[in-house]
Amino acid sequence: MARLSFLEAIRRAQFSEMKRDERVFIMGTDLVCNVFGTTTGFLEEFGPERVRDTPISENGFIGAAAGASMVGARPIVDANISSFLYPAMDQICSIIAKSRYIYGGQATLPLVVRCCLFYGNSNAAQHSDRPYPMLMGMPGLTILVPSGPRDANGLLRAAIRDDNPVFIFEDSTLWGRKEEVPDDPDFVVEIGKADVKLEGSDVTVVAIGGSVPIALASAKLLAEDGISVEVVDPRTLVPLDNETILKSVRKTGRVVVVDPAHQTCSAASEISARIVEEAFGALRAPIVRVTTPDTHLPFSPQIEKPLYPNKDRIVDAVRRVLDHAKAKPQSARENV
């Protein structure tokens, strides 16, 4: 066990996987200079063939990852910031998502694309997107959003070992967080399994990525008022672990879903829809989503930061679902 930061946990996972399997290689922009700290020591250990700085050509190198994986290599693409996936949307949607399908199973694409959710830091709208919901709607892609070092480490390993294309979104608001992570180079967190981060009985808070620690902090605050919150972390968005989420909903009957993505068609929306479809009878209140509203992120920090999910909003949402029966018809607060 070692107490690692989120970024170090990622570094160790991809390092150990590259050592374990020489078919694994990594490419992306600014990896040699180690722009985010996830490739320290890689060039020295693995050499320039397997640690490649690319030109700024995302459609090119992400498409190349598809091709490389189809002939048996196992690429990790580090796309740096998630907005940089956009130039590659055709290779992602037409090639990566669909090749196995359109060729009737003849193609196998064991690739991983990693990028960070770079928001909350005055980087203005173009750099601050959280685009995992866009890719959730594209069959053929596995989507992971780890919420801490341990999950990041184990999920990345699972992703590299998986024979399907996997996209991992690393929430940059988590970069500084530290957690105990096993030293085991075979430590794997199963893809498609959610995790109950905190057990509780009054309300289920499903939280995604960087919202998980905020949800846990909210739970702590609410516990002071005797409210018992269960925090469920899906970890994998596609395929979603319906069973774990629904089990919690059936226990508590009240749900708040917290997601740093924009409200419309957020992961929170999909989770809410599934809960209503499958566990309507268990619900004692409407589901409330706590998301970033449907506007872009401004540069100016004072007006950017309040837009993301935070403790105040989660606590407020939890109280609303608890007070549902007593809520006045014209509540001053609409969507939280």
Binding site: T29, D30, V32, C33, V35, D53, P55, I56, S57, E58, N59, G60, S83, F84, Y86, P87, G120, N121, S122, N123, A124, A125, Q126, H127, S172, T173, L174, W175, G176, R177, P213, P293, D294, T295, H296, L297, P298, F299, S300, P301, Q302, I303, E304, K305, P306, L307, Y308, N310, K311, D312, R313, D316, A332, R333, E334, N335, V336
Partner: protein
């Protein structure tokens, strides 16, 4: 003073110094934490920006990139609304919505400084297209870097301009590096400009540190565009003194003594010497220096005294019409702040 003030050479000098002073000040304020987010400084590239922008009319269009500050200043924008934008104030040129990577003054012909590498190239081609469709004679110019020349958007924008003979000038500010990647690792050719042949347009290399050479080269391209001769790809060989972004706490790339070598050919120092040789006095140039220092000071004062936008301004300008504001946000008290996260890591040293 009035006669000389109209002298173009002095204006080249004035704008280059303005950019340099602005960048020095911005970098210092950023280091102090007064400017949030990332700061990509233009120091070293002044001759390219100024030479190019002064070859354009005020109503000609310009698109740029994240290394944005030099472009609006080169095209004659006032400093105060640029500085206010860096501080995220409501009086900023983008009302605090864009920040450093988007210093765009549409009143001097900007169509935006966009921070996704290469994304401005099709826009510039499109502005040229629009100008033609509307029967106007406005030309557009795209600023982009060596890194952007490897994006698909560059290829497609150039090809479109070539096949439709659009009135656009593509200006590559080749400063040798894309973040930490040197050009030699990003492309198999020496000069981006050779790609012009692939788009059926002339391609030219120019010394980006020589403001008059840039002006002359871009002027020819602008004339070609305006008279129906189609697009040109110009590659200015230039250099940024700073690392990709300022105050990161560590250098993404240590270029060592190379920076000193380029400093020996500082565009402003070289041009200053030229002006003196041409008969302008030391006093005049010093006067210009101090005028600009005052202008920068005034811009900083203006920026500092300006108010921040309010939270509801976050919902402005998604569309031409208002988007719904969730009542939660509408009901938050003025000046509402979120608790800082003690685990938050900033990439920037401040």
């Amino acid at each position: 003073m009035t006669q000389l003030a109209n002298d173009q050479a002095l204006e080249f000098f004035r704008r280059m110094v303005k950019i340099r002073r602005f960048e020095e000040r911005a970098e210092a304020m950023h280091a102090q934490g007064e400017i949030p987010g990332a700061l990509h400084t233009y120091s070293g590239q002044e001759a390219t920006g100024v030479g190019a922008c002064m070859a354009l009319r005020n109503d000609d269009f310009m698109v740029g990139n994240h290394r944005s500050h030099g472009h609006p200043i080169a095209k004659g924008a006032k400093l105060r609304t640029l500085m206010a934008e860096l501080l995220g104030k409501e009086t900023g040129v983008c009302h605090g919505k864009g920040g450093s990577m988007h210093l765009s003054d549409f009143s001097v012909g900007s169509l935006g400084e966009t921070s996704i590498v290469g994304s401005g190239v099709p826009v510039a081609a499109g502005a040229a297209l629009g100008s033609r469709i509307l029967g106007k004679d406005q030309v557009s110019l795209a600023f982009f870097g060596d890194g952007a020349a490897n994006e698909g958007a560059f290829h497609e924008g150039c090809n479109l301009a070539g096949v439709w003979k659009l009135p656009v000038v593509f200006l590559c500010e080749n400063n040798g590096y894309a973040v930490s990647t040197p050009v030699s690792a990003a492309m198999a050719i020496e000069n981006v400009s050779v790609r012009a042949a692939g788009y059926g347009m002339p391609g030219e290399v120019v010394d980006g540190q020589d403001v008059e050479a840039v002006y002359e080269c871009v002027s020819r391209a602008v004339t070609r565009a305006r008279t129906g001769g189609g697009p040109t790809l110009i590659e200015a060989k230039t250099y940024r003194y700073g690392d990709h972004a300022a105050n990161m706490g560590r250098l993404l790339l240590d270029r060592g003594s190379e920076v000193d070598e380029w400093t020996k050919r500082d565009p402003i120092v070289m041009f200053r010497a030229k002006l003196l040789k041409a008969g302008h006095t030391e006093e005049l140039l010093t006067e210009i220096d101090s005028e600009i220092s005052e202008e920068v000071d005034e811009a900083v004062k203006f920026a500092r005294e300006s108010r921040y936008p309010s939270l509801l301004n976050s919902f402005d300008d998604v569309l031409t019409r208002r988007v719904p504001v969730p009542a939660y946000f509408a009901n938050l008290p003025e000046g509402y702040q979120v608790e800082a996260d003690e685990n938050a890591v900033s990439l920037f040293g401040n």
